[in-house]
């Protein structure tokens, strides 16, 4: 044994050094991440009236259910006053819908969601904040909102005949947006594989999204909860292109 330790001393040193560095780094990251969560939660709670946070009726399931329904309808009616298309994310029924003037124009079934239980256990005050009408403040997507194709007007009929209207298929949609109530949403389109079978790459997508976040900032001092939703790609694109920039979003859970 001693001989092995001696012979492969550098191997053991390298392994344990790396292990210690990884443990230390992970513990440090964990503590900082939890600090960020604590700060974000405190800030949120401070912005909500205590009476709402401590609403006793909320603890009775029948009352809670009715209140949720009341708020969903109230938000729906408020949004109906606007001339803009808006987005409803109904996590209770696993539906994402586009609404205009109180009419649901389109709805798509959520195929997958992460976290599975996204804000389904909140106190009354934070529930009101979560489900208030929120505005998109930042967004980015893998495709154009308006897929404009620029063409120079032909000078004559001969030139006009030469113009080709080929179109390249869009990639799968990845639409990330942040809301002014400090929630981030990532909508991912699910395509079909080469055998035309639905190709949900949930784990691969999740690893990529989380790795991207770490790449942007190894230790983030801010925490924003993120809801990941997977929809059929055609539905996802229709919804993305329907909702105007800085559009409004409302949740139901």
């Amino acid at each position: 044994m001693k001989e092995i330790l001696k012979k492969y001393k550098f191997g053991f040193i390298a392994f344990f050094t790396i292990l210690v560095i990884l443990i230390a780094g992970t513990v440090f990251r964990y503590l900082k991440s939890m600090d960020a969560v604590h700060t974000a939660a405190n800030e949120k709670l401070l912005s909500i009236p205590e009476a709402e946070i401590n609403d006793a009726g909320w603890n009775i399931p029948e009352i809670q259910e009715k209140k949720k329904e009341v708020h969903w309808l109230e938000r729906h009616l408020t949004l109906a006053k606007s001339d803009s298309l808006n987005l409803g994310i109904n996590l209770t029924d696993s539906i994402v819908q586009v609404q205009l003037k109180g009419t649901v124009l389109f709805q798509a079934k959520i195929q997958k969601q992460d976290p599975v239980h996204f804000f389904d256990e909140l106190n009354y005050g934070t529930y009101l904040d979560f489900t208030k009408i929120a505005k998109i403040t930042e967004e980015q997507a893998s495709i154009e909102k308006r897929p404009l194709k620029r063409i120079q007007a032909p000078k004559n009929e001969e030139e006009a005949a030469k113009i080709k209207h080929d179109s390249i298929p869009d990639p799968l949609l990845i639409w990330k947006f942040k809301l002014d109530n400090q929630i981030e949403v990532v909508i991912t389109g699910i395509g079909l594989n080469k055998d035309s079978v639905v190709d949900l790459r949930y784990k691969e997508n999740m690893l990529r999204y989380n790795a991207e976040k770490i790449k942007q900032k190894l230790i983030s001092e801010n925490y924003i909860p993120t809801l990941y939703i997977w929809l059929n790609d055609k539905d996802a694109k229709a919804i993305y292109r329907a909702i105007p920039e800085r559009g409004k979003v409302v949740f139901r859970n």
Partner: protein, 226 residues
């Protein structure tokens, strides 16, 4: 033999180091974000009161039920009554509603999103506007009054307004529903292109679909485009 053993042991070190790195990467990439969310949700669910004895449950439920009924009635009134049309410009599909039931659905064609640049001051974007529009007028055997872009995109000189070459019959199908600002729902000679984004902003439909839409939607009906 000894040399092979040495190489294998060193290989084992490399594999152990790589496995450790992967395991910690997974903890950082996947486990910590999950723990963050769980903690955040737990903090936001905290409440000082869990005692519900002060709540008059029956009275509160009665009051909430009443409020729900009123809100549901108001929400119901928002849906356009008799008949309306919904057009999806991304997938180029439509749904025709009557008495809140879909009575027909299918493919249509909407704006191509071509941005035709004439010169530095003049350009046209062939896009179907999103939002809610109203059927302002309905015509049978519509005649197309060609706008400037119809000549420009063909590389032809633009005639004066009202010139006879601007009027073209038998190209818009048997019916047209006018939505205002020059936008219409109409038919087409190019039926095989229905389902693709190929129009200059109007909505094109197959003959049978157009006939049903024309007959179902009275003037004043809502057309929702998204």
């Amino acid at each position: 033999m000894e040399k092979v053993k040495t190489i294998l042991i060193w290989l084992l070190f490399v594999v152990a180091i790589l496995a450790t790195v992967v395991a910690f990467a997974y903890i950082n990439i996947s486990v910590i974000p999950e723990m963050q969310f769980a903690k955040y949700q737990a903090e936001l669910s905290k409440t000082a009161t869990t005692d519900t004895t002060s709540v008059n449950k029956d009275a509160e439920i009665k009051s909430l039920t009443k409020k729900l009924d009123q809100l549901a009635k108001r929400a119901q009134r928002l849906t356009p009554g008799n008949a309306f049309l919904i057009i999806n410009t991304t997938n180029n599909t439509f749904e025709l509603y009557k008495n809140n039931q879909i009575i027909r659905q299918g493919r249509c064609s909407t704006g191509s999103f071509i941005h035709l640049e004439v010169d530095s001051t003049k350009s046209f974007t062939f896009e179907t506007p999103k939002g809610v529009m109203t059927v302002q007028n309905k015509v049978t055997n519509p005649v197309w009054t060609k706008p400037d872009w119809a000549f420009i995109e063909e590389g032809l000189p633009v005639p004066s307004p009202g010139h006879s070459s601007r009027r073209e019959a038998n190209v818009l199908g048997d019916y047209a529903l006018k939505l205002g600002d020059g936008y219409m729902i109409h038919g087409t000679l190019y039926q095989r292109l229905i389902g693709s984004p190929v129009t200059h902003g109007c909505v094109r439909m197959l003959d049978d679909d157009l006939e049903e839409v024309y007959k179902t939607l009275p003037i004043g009906s809502k057309v929702f485009i998204y």
